[in-house]
Amino acid sequence: MKVLMFGWEFPPHISGGLGTACYGLIQGMNVHKQEVIFVVPKLWGDEEPVADFVNASGVTVDYRERRFKKLWKNLTYLEVNSYLVPYLGPKAFKKFTDYAIHDRTDVDESIFSTNYQFSGKYGKNLMEEVSRYALVGAQIARDRTDFDIIHAHDWLAYPAGIAAKEISGKPLVVHVHATEYDRSGESVNFPVFEIERAGMHAADHVVAVSQLTKNICVRKYGIPPEKVTVLHNAVLDASIITSSYQKKVPEKIVTFLGRITYQKGPEYFVEAAKKVIERDPNVRFVMAGSGDLLNKMVDRVAELRMGTKFHFTGFLKGDDVDHMYAISDVYVMPSVSEPFGIAPLEAVRHNTPVIISKQSGVAEVLNNAIKIDFWDVDAMADAIFGLLHYPSIARMFTELGADELKKLKWEHVAAKLVTVYDKILAQRA
């Protein structure tokens, strides 16, 4: 079988978990000898050659093709209605839209020109790029006939998947790694929601990264439950990392590591920290990462008078991330809504016991972790205190967690995906 896949990013050029998940999935597919044509907006040349890569920036769109004009009409609707990027807070979004509205005039011609350079980022021309990416999808679907099924990862690639399906008539699978409800809570960006909804409805089948995400697809997007299959993410490398990096402070360290945004629930971590420090002053809390809620968190920490025990590191990369996991005694992911959440698994690899919110997909696969409701700061504080003071639980978690990790393999995910493909193709035949 040959799959035409549309993604948005690919390692090593990634800004989130999407690229890593695509990479893992392709690795898994290769184990089962499934061929993948993988399209990304921009290829950098240093990607590992695990698939038949197509660089969307290098695809020439034949603007004389009549069917493309029809596609384009539908896409223009998105174009003029949306000025947005994911992961922006209200303030940053306001600034961004002010800029974008004044800045865009010649969208039509530039997109429909024969050559278009994608940035492949999440920048101010995101919607323009998504639309153009759809045209590229249509072109590829016309040029290449050697694929059996189309697979689009997240909303940025849905229009491309839809276009490819319309041109080729081949079945479409959309893969939901996150939804607008996860990113923005109830204050969704309507144009993004619309693309997600259209993608899920146009698809022959929907793959969700967790039961949690499946429920959102069903409840918020009106997709029949039998049309959605849950495929949990896996880890690329389940080996335990032993670091020689040493902690420099005598206290135990409790860590939050992630984007400091609404979705990740940083405020609940801060409140829980206060409760723990009141009972046990020999703990330090670290909030590692950056995001639009950072300053608010700094303010709150000062207000709670725990600035000498609660630290901010800013955005961490490279070795610093590993060091941070290595010196942490407890890792907390209090996400408000997390479709999957790979970070706790990284913590497990560092033998760090984890506390995760029940509102995260990873909670469905990781048994050896403490699970709490993100809003229940008392339970979170109890869990932190317990893991710090009763070493037997922590020891058990690290021993059993490592075993659990080994079961989370991408080849298992790929095997399940292949059965999904088979079922769809069988239904068609």
Binding site: V249, T308, T313, D320
Partner: protein
């Protein structure tokens, strides 16, 4: 007697280096030597050296009829010794003329007066010692507190230290209908005379001099002398208090600020009956017209002339409280490096960087801050303070 009293504040803080969470417990050196040296040397070229030489020239030309006063913070003295000995020499030459007065302040430009009498006294004594050592046994008679912060209580403490006079802001909300151009006395201890900054005339030079949108731009010596002459005849003293960096740094040389100062003495001597005096001369010559009541502290900062530039938001208060919680333990420690860090960490600038008052429109605060935002300033300070606390605790267990 009608007289003009110039006092210039000379201060630079020891700025912190970017200090990361990972450094806590490991790296015990907090100071940004590179930045601090650069600032001192840059400002030396633009301000300290040219202005010192201009003042020396004026003092010699008028044979002592022109005179000024300086308050030089201990953190500045230390950095001068380390990074700009030529600047130190030029200050020593000025003081040696006998027509330049030095004032005392807290050694590390600290806000201790608001928190701890013991610490305040300790820092004043340390400043006295430093001045004595560097300026040939010099012993100041008049006191200026950090950022001209003053209250009845602080004045009483200063009187207890034996000073005859103290400088502060002629804050409108304290003066009401009264004029800053008289000598007042402390409300608790009438022995301490209080000199008030004439903020209008001071700020005409310090803030507005080069402002082309100002209605009175350009400020000439003639205009300035006219304003002095226009003051009621019975008002004896005009206190012109400002940062020394006004000359060449806040107001660039291109604005003509040096020429203004070069010609101001001549204009005053020839067109008015004003003389120049130092604070101790004013204190000796004039009797207080009344006491001045300042129940809550005032300063010379911002429109509000209060403490909100340094204290008041949660981040500032937390940093400040956490620092001074250590005082008792510090008293028992003899480690010179810990003491140095304790003193440098008290410098008011660290708290000024955490001010969020002007966060949105970013004005004068931003100009003086090495940080992008007050949040960055807070995080960095707290990381350093966290390490410092660990050291203090370790040392006090010994």
């Amino acid at each position: 007697m009608r007289t003009v009293c110039f006092y210039f504040q000379v201060h630079q803080p020891y700025r912190l280096k970017p200090y990361r969470f990972f450094d806590i417990g490991e790296d015990h050196y907090y100071w940004n030597d590179y930045l601090n040296r650069n600032v001192i040397q840059k400002v030396a070229q633009k301000c300290y050296l040219p202005m010192n030489s201009l003042l020396l020239e004026l003092i010699q030309r008028y044979q002592g009829r022109f005179k000024v006063a300086f308050s030089i913070s201990g953190t500045f003295l230390d950095q001068m010794e380390a990074y700009a000995p030529d600047v130190l020499e030029s200050f020593q030459r000025l003081v040696a003329t006998g027509h330049v007065e030095l004032l005392n302040e807290t050694y590390s430009h600290s806000l201790a007066a608001l928190k701890s009498k013991d610490e305040f006294f300790a820092l004043v004594h340390k400043h006295q010692d430093r001045i004595k050592a560097l300026f040939n046994g010099y012993s100041p008679k008049v006191f200026r507190n950090t950022e001209l912060i003053y209250s009845d209580d602080i004045g009483a403490m200063v009187a207890e230290l034996g000073y005859q006079g103290m400088l502060t802001e002629g804050a409108k909300h304290v003066l009401g209908w009264k004029s800053p151009n008289y000598v007042y006395s402390n409300a608790k201890n009438p022995n301490l005379k209080v000199l008030l900054k004439n903020f209008r005339l001071s700020d005409d030079i310090a803030f507005r001099f080069g402002d082309k949108t100002w209605g009175d731009y350009p400020l000439t010596t003639d205009k300035f002398v006219n304003w002095l002459n226009a003051l009621p005849k019975e008002e004896p003293v005009v206190n012109l208090f400002m940062d020394y960096e006004t000359f060449g740094e806040h107001q660039w040389a291109e604005t003509g600020i040096f020429d203004f100062m070069r010609h101001l003495p001549e204009a005053i001597f020839s067109q008015s009956n004003f003389s120049f005096s130092t604070p101790s001369e004013v204190v000796a010559a004039l009797s207080p017209v009344s006491s001045i009541h300042v129940p809550t502290p005032i300063s010379w900062a911002d429109e509000e002339r209060d403490l909100t530039a340094w204290l008041g938001n949660d981040m500032q208060d937390e940093a400040f409280d956490r620092l001074y919680e250590l005082e008792k333990k510090i008293r028992k420690i003899k480690d010179p490096e810990l003491l140095r860090d304790w003193e440098y960490l008290q410098t008011s600038d660290h708290f000024y960087y955490i001010c969020t008052k002007f966060f949105s429109d970013g004005s004068v605060h931003e100009y003086f801050s090495p940080y992008d935002t007050p949040y960055d300033a807070f995080i960095n300070y707290m990381n350093v303070l966290s390490d410092f606390i660990l050291r203090v605790e370790a040392a006090s267990k010994k």
